[in-house]
């Protein structure tokens, strides 16, 4: 797999166009970058700049109309739908702005879900340890609507780290939280990130949040403003 400094995520001439009633619309155009293993990257940009689309393409949730995404040496386009699903199961975790907890499941069951899908030996024990770790040890049997926003996001973070992903995507993880809660969530996210050596790609419009990251990508009108900018070189 190469050295630690080798690219874990690569976007090559990545583009996304959709057809609307008013003609074709380019959402992303000619995106090129590579992210080394263990790096944390913030994708910055205003609303509608293409952040969420880029995240979707990088995670294999959507397919590009041009270019390639390579994760852990594998071209997502060549993998097919099932291959991408497998890659997600094995490699990728998610944290969302609106938490995306399943309302019918308890906090514990939400965290167990990726472990169960991956066939982990003791999903209940692992999940409850993780919830303990994020400070929800006494909320295991609570349903999402019985948790505050911050608690829901902590639960979602526990879920994201449950399968020990090598790559974590976070889409505006504090977007739905007040500043103080948001700060605690970010601290938790980065602490776990460091602990597990995860590569982190986070979409945000919050500059101060982006400062926590090793590297920043600015999107504007679907194009990268600073394709080469690197804040610091890191070795994880």
């Amino acid at each position: 797999m190469g050295s630690q400094q080798s690219a874990f995520v690569q976007a090559i001439q990545l583009g996304k166009r959709v057809t609307t009633s008013e003609g074709p619309l380019t959402i992303l155009d000619d995106i090129n970058f590579s992210i080394p293993t263990g790096t944390s990257v913030a994708v910055l940009g205003a609303s509608g700049s293409g952040k969420t689309t880029l995240l979707g393409l990088l995670a294999g949730l959507d397919v590009p109309t041009a270019g390639q995404v390579i994760i852990a040496g594998q071209d997502l386009g060549a993998l097919g739908e099932d291959g991408r699903a497998l890659l997600r199961a094995e490699t990728i975790g998610f944290v969302f702005q609106n938490f995306q907890l399943l309302t019918g499941l308890t906090a514990l069951e939400n965290v167990m879900l990726p472990l169960e899908l991956g066939g982990a030996a003791n999903p209940r024990g692992l999940a409850s340890d993780l919830l303990d770790r994020v400070g929800l040890g006494d909320r295991l049997t609570h349903y999402p609507n019985q948790l505050s926003g911050g608690e829901q996001q902590r639960c979602a973070i526990a879920r994201a780290f449950a399968a020990q992903p090598q790559l974590l995507f976070a889409d505006e993880p504090t977007g739905n939280l007040d500043q103080q809660t948001g700060k605690r969530i970010i601290d938790l996210l980065f602490a776990l990130n460091r602990e597990q050596g995860t590569t982190l790609i986070m979409a945000t419009h919050d500059e101060s949040l982006a400062e926590h990251c090793d590297r920043r990508l600015h999107l504007d009108g679907g194009r990268l403003v600073n394709p080469g900018e690197v804040i610091s070189d890191v070795g994880c």
């Binding site: 969420t52 995240l55 979707g56 995670a59 294999g60 949730l61 959507d62 852990a72 594998q74 739908e81 099932d82 699903a85 497998l86 890659l87 997600r88 199961a89 094995e90 990728i92 998610f94 969302f96 995306q100 399943l102 309302t103 019918g104 499941l105 069951e109 879900l113 990726p114 169960e116 899908l117 991956g118 066939g119 609507n145 399968a163 889409d171």
Partner: protein
């Protein structure tokens, strides 16, 4: 990635069993599966209860009907019953009795009278009971005995004709007999009602002493058999191989036509109830499954996001549904069994027949129904979940392409049709109802769409509450159409039930009213017709109508000589050898329906035309415009079949298989017949009648009519009970339809309340919405129910159905009220739940 393979296998094995169970439990706990399970349980409970009930009642009624041949199976032969047959029956442990019937002249006081003699052995009758009385037209009672040796039991008209009393002596051949009882009823009397001489019943061991049976004598020997169904069926199979020409097998279905008709109708009513319950439950399941799928879009997207493949998703949800189907079916089967046990306990007193133990067939039907219904109706929307793009976790507007479910639903309907046909065995009924439902769904959908469009235009002209309500309907045309269709089907079935319950069942009962004719007068001579009418007029009995008939024997069909060898069926072979009674009439009887050709007018009088009963035409393979030749009084006369008639035999009116126009048979020797209702007091005047017109024979059919009537009453009771389930299924559909877009409604209402809308305004909006939905659904359902009731009445049950527009309008009103009330009650939590809770939960 050397470890690429194992995880896929892990995911698949996980999803296949354990995970789907966990999903089932979690969804159940979350209340996601409740409506689905309830609908399914209702479906399976109703179908198994109905099926158990039909199964048991049908077998019970068949036992009743077995009375009509006095056994479960009868071998009828012109020769002595073979020793082999008797031994084979002994080996199978069957109860046996034998009868020997022949015509002979009975003599008393030197006066002869032709009699139908029947000699019977012990155990006769195996099914049913003889009824006897101490004096003519006196109180009768059931008996388990047969005449002792040296004694005979005779019909009252023999006593009248020969002017005898109980205790007198009657000579039969070489032996004198003491008349010890009056014979009132024998279960297997049967035969041609108009040609029978009075019955003399004697002990079989006395036959030899009469020396009446000599070589060449026309004798009918019968072996009557009774026993468990398996043994009887086994014996029937054995006998099919053995039967020789001249030997006939009679089973229950070949009993009297009027009873057969009653049983067939009974089965149809029960079948209809079962059929509608299942189809309705299917609609409820489909509606609830749609909501279930809607609420699992996020789950699917999240599972995809977490690495589940499309196949994993399909397997997971399919297995989850399979577990649910099996669990709900088990509950339904148990409930069905219990309900049916409970109801038979209640009905046992009324049924007066002991029902046989339930068989296992209904359980198979129950599970098959549960699995087919749920997988069939729930899978299409659930399969669409595989198409939910994982991108939905980032963009909530992504829902994925819906699965084209039309073909799947059609497949489900077909398989349900096959299942129900298997249970009910009425192809026409099943296909009419299924087709009716299908057409109704299409019409409801089309009509609903058109009406919604129309409604949208009205929006600008109404107040705020109504605008909100109408906007709600118009804003979600797809979901509104589905809701109207579901409501419409629910209401339609409820209306259809009330129609069937009130009109069809009553029509059926009315077809045999308390004053239906219970006596037949036969052998009336032409010059006695007016005198007989006058006689009854004087007695205060309404003037009876008399019908002429001429004896004839069928000789040729299309110039080809008729032979019993031309036919396979026992009925056909029997019909070609019997004597026909040709009648003439200017107009058809009111309970006759011309199904092919046309009835004659005045210009056809005197022509060789013939109107033939449709079933007989079918049995004898005679078609419209075929020619048939009858031997009438020694001359061969040819007739062309000018029309085919369906006859309601269970009305007990005088009806003929064969009718010709006036002006054809008037010169031939005819006798006249009539039927009339006589109550207990009027019955006593019969002795006067017999004295004045000694040649006239009176036949009392009150006993057989009571049988038919009691079967009808039982069936009506059973059908009404089964309709309760159909009602439940209808309510489940309504409930599922109300729940269908509850989430969306709750969210919108919360938004409006946050924006300052007051609850009364929202409530009025809801009322407006549901009254409109109810009116649209009610209107379409009322029309559909009326049409379907008409088709059922005309095509399946053969009743004249009168459409009453006022009742139609009232029904639409009921539809509006049901949906309006149920809708508002069902959605009131939309108004009571704090907006913040709804907003938090999202759509």
């Amino acid at each position: 990635m050397a470890n690429a393979d194992p995880p896929i296998i892990r995911i698949q094995s996980q999803t296949s069993l354990a995970f789907s169970w966990r999903m089932l439990w979690r969804d159940w706990r979350g209340g996601e599966l409740r409506i689905l399970a309830i609908a399914l349980i209702i479906a399976v409970t109703s179908v198994t209860a109905v099926s158990f009930f039909i199964d048991r009642v049908e077998r019970g009624l068949n036992q009743q009907a077995a009375e009509l041949i006095a056994a479960d199976l009868v071998i009828s032969s012109s020769r002595q019953i073979k020793r082999d047959y008797i031994q084979a029956a002994e080996q199978r442990g069957l109860t046996q009795a034998q009868t020997t019937q022949f015509r002979s002249v009975a003599v008393a006081h030197d006066r002869p009278q032709l009699a139908e003699v029947k000699a019977v052995t012990d155990h006769y009758p195996i099914r049913g009971a003889l009824r006897i009385a101490d004096a003519p037209y006196g109180e009768d009672r059931a008996t388990q005995t047969i005449p002792a040796r040296g004694e005979v039991w005779v019909e009252p008209r023999l006593l009248q004709t020969l002017q005898l009393n109980v205790g007198d002596t009657l000579q039969l051949g070489a032996m004198p007999f003491r008349i010890s009882q009056v014979l009132v009823y024998e279960p297997d009397r049967g035969g041609d009602m108009f040609s029978v001489a009075p019955r003399v019943l004697m002990h079989a061991d006395d036959v030899a002493a009469t020396r009446l049976i000599t070589t060449g004598a026309l004798v009918n020997h019968r072996l009557l058999l009774g026993g468990p169904a398996n043994a009887i069926n086994d014996y029937r199979r054995y006998l099919r191989q053995q039967l020789q020409p001249g030997e006939r097998l009679l089973s229950v279905k070949e009993g009297r036509p009027e009873l057969r008709a009653a049983l067939e109708r009974a089965q149809r009513f029960l079948g209809l109830a079962a059929l509608i319950s299942v189809l309705l439950a299917g609609v409820a399941v489909a509606t609830a499954a749609r909501r279930f799928a809607q609420r699992h879009l996020d789950t699917s997207a999240m599972l995809r996001c977490l690495g589940a493949t499309q196949r994993n998703i399909i397997r997971m949800f399919s297995l989850e549904m399979l577990w649910l189907a099996l669990l709900a079916s088990s509950v339904g089967c148990v409930l069905g069994l219990l309900t049916q046990l409970g109801i038979t306990r209640i009905l046992d007193q009324l049924l007066l027949i002991s029902l046989p133990a339930p068989s296992l067939r209904p359980l198979i039907l129950g599970y098959a129904t549960g699995v087919i219904l749920l997988l069939g109706f729930a899978l299409p929307p659930l399969l669409a979940l595989k198409n939910v793009p994982p991108l939905r976790v980032l963009r909530r507007d992504q829902t994925g392409a819906p699965v084209r479910a039309g073909l799947v639903y059609l497949g489900v309907l077909l398989s349900m049709g096959v299942l129900l046909y298997w249970q009910i065995g009425e192809l026409r009924l099943v296909s009419y109802v299924m087709l009716g439902m299908l057409v109704t769904v299409l019409l409801l959908a089309l009509g609903a769409y058109g009406l919604i469009k129309l409604m949208n235009r009205l929006r600008q002209r109404v107040g705020v509450a109504w605008r909100f309500g109408l906007a709600n309907i118009a804003r979600r045309p797809g979901s509104s159409v589905i809701q109207i269709v579901a409501f419409g089907l629910g209401i339609m079935v409820l209306l259809l039930l009330s129609t069937v319950r009130n009109d069809l069942l009553n029509d059926w009962r009315r077809s045999l009213p308390p004053d239906a004719p219970n006596h037949f007068l036969i052998n009336v001579q032409p010059d006695q017709v007016t005198e007989i009418q006058k006689f009854f007029d004087q007695q205060g009995v309404s003037k009876p109508q008399l019908y002429p008939m001429v004896r004839a024997r069928l000789m040729q069909i299309n110039d080809r000589t008729v032979s019993t060898d031309d036919y396979e069926s026992d009925r056909a072979r029997h019909m070609v050898t019997r004597e026909f009674n040709l009648s003439w009439a200017a107009t058809p009887q009111v309970d006759n329906t011309i199904v092919a050709g046309k009835w004659w007018d005045k210009t056809d009088y005197g022509q060789g035309l013939l109107s033939l009963e449709a079933k007989l035409a079918d049995t004898l393979r005679i078609k419209l415009n075929d020619t048939v030749s009858f031997d009438i009084n020694g001359t061969l006369r040819q007739f062309r079949i000018s029309n085919l008639r369906e006859v309601d035999w269970d009305t007990f009116n005088i009806n003929f298989f064969t009718v010709v126009p006036p002006g054809v048979l008037e010169q031939d020797p005819a006798s006249w017949v009539t039927s009339l209702y006589l109550d207990a007091a009027q019955k006593r005047q019969l002795s006067d009648l017999v004295k004045r017109f000694p040649n006239v024979t009176v036949i009392d059919v009150a006993a057989i009519m009571d049988r038919v009537r009691s079967i009808m009453d039982r069936v009506v009771l059973a059908v009404e009970f089964i309709f309760l389930f159909t009602l439940l299924a209808g309510l489940a559909v309504l409930y599922a339809a109300i729940q269908a877009n509850q989430d969306e409604r709750r969210f919108e209402s919360a938004v409006l309340r946050t924006l300052g809308a007051r609850r009364p305004v929202l409530l009025r909006g809801l009322i407006a919405e549901f009254i409109t939905l109810g009116a649209l659904a009610g209107l379409l359902a009322g029309l559909a129910a009326t049409a379907l009731a008409w088709v059922l009445a005309a095509q399946i049950f053969h009743f004249p159905y009168q459409f009453n527009p006022m009742i139609g309008i009232a029904r639409i009103g009921v539809g509006v009220a049901i949906v309006g009330l149920a809708g508002v009650l069902g959605t009131r939590t939309v108004l009571t739940q704090p907006p913040v809770v709804s907003l938090r939960q999202g759509v």
